[in-house]
Symmetry: C2
Subunit: 245 residues, 2 copies
């Protein structure tokens, strides 16, 4: 068993935001496993096998990748962004934990990448300039009560908040509920940023306030940033100063 | 006034973790401004001017960079990691806000990069696999009371916690105080990771528990990750599953 598995991220979209280390890991692979649109960002050679799958079968995809590695293949599991942030790396280790004990002896590595909130922040200035947190708004794998508890704690402690997976066709109303909750704690003037397709050629920013924020502005490709009490605009940029007041 | 300013990050250390977009921005610059050790990571051409400075003069460095851009130069301000996370981007916008009103018309951009916590997480598996927060433990620019309030909120809401700037010669005891506080809220068995020089050739990991965590293990180049209640080891990796229980 001399196969290997590396989990890589393509970054937020533009090829220039994928690290050379991730590109090299993909080039060394015999097999590429991932959600189709992420694999589409990568140019495969004729001798590389492509295993594309749907977006909602992470554990199945992880098991397939581990099986291939256990059979001696060199597998790259391709995520968007950074694979360790709301992406495939955790799914791989879940599959290791619940799967064939031999998988624990495999050569498994993770390559870091540029995650969406960093690209979204860079589009508008430096809104993550102070302490911040990242919360996935998807309740597929955790309860909505847990999400509300974390939003409340983050708002009360005045973190900048980055929301991943803010909305999907199956969950159109949760972002609006999150804004309603945050409005009971934070100032109406708090900057709220909707950054769609951050770090890609189609990037689009809507900057508004918490009072005016409309959950319907977000979709699967949107990253939402809600400022801390100090977050503000200067010129056409939005940033959070390093000082607390 | 046709100068420009771009804030770039070199990533966590290995050149292969700097994005091609950041490298291209550096190559286009006439002037490079930054802390000496970060500038040392970049190969300058003979026609590029190097403006190195000490680590503790961010605002002064930001003003120098803005003045150069206002005089028509194309300036790259070079940070480590991602420039928007506890690095130079916020300092640039602070300097814009408090400086020459003409600076608000400048062409200023931020290039995202791989920040230290992502590289640290990748060294050990996927500890940032759930909701997480990033807190700078430096009280140069905010009060220790604010830091304690955020640590408490993050622990109670069961975020994974990444600590930047955990210790320095001037602040040798704060990480120990942070662990003492977290021990009053979180389980003794909570995984704690000290990742030094993550994403560089000298990367070194110490994995321990909250009960055993010793603040003296950290220095300026260490990133500390404190797990959520679900963070655990499988084989030689540590990860946070996507499910909450």
């Amino acid at each position: 068993m001399s196969g290997s598995l590396v989990v890589v991220g393509t970054g937020p979209g533009r090829p220039e935001l994928m690290t050379p280390a991730s590109l090299a890991a993909i080039e060394r692979a015999t097999d590429l496993v991932g959600y189709g649109p992420y694999l589409d960002r990568v140019t495969l050679r004729a001798d590389q096998c492509r295993h594309a799958s749907d977006n909602r079968v992470e554990l199945e995809r992880a098991r397939q990748a581990l099986s291939l590695a256990a059979s001696g293949r060199h597998v790259a599991v391709v995520s968007g962004g950074d694979p360790g942030v709301f992406a495939m790396a955790a799914a791989i280790f879940e599959a290791v934990e619940s799967g064939d004990p031999a998988w624990r002896a495999l050569d498994i590595r993770v390559e870091p990448g540029v995650t969406a909130m960093l690209a979204a922040a860079a589009e508008v200035g430096a809104p993550l300039g102070g302490d911040f947190c990242a919360i996935s708004l998807s309740d597929n794998l955790k309860s909505w009560a847990t999400i509300e508890r974390r939003l409340t704690a983050a708002a009360r402690a005045d973190f900048v908040i980055a929301l991943y997976n803010p909305a999907s066709k199956a969950r159109p109303h949760q972002l609006g509920q999150a804004f309603d909750l945050l409005r009971t704690i934070k100032s109406d003037e708090t900057p709220v940023l909707f950054v769609r397709a951050a770090g890609s050629a189609e990037a689009k920013v809507v900057a508004t306030t918490l009072a005016a924020a409309d959950g319907a502005l977000a979709d699967m490709r949107t990253l939402v940033i809600i400022g801390a009490s100090t977050t503000r605009s200067v010129g056409r940029w939005i940033y959070t100063p390093r000082r607390e007041a």
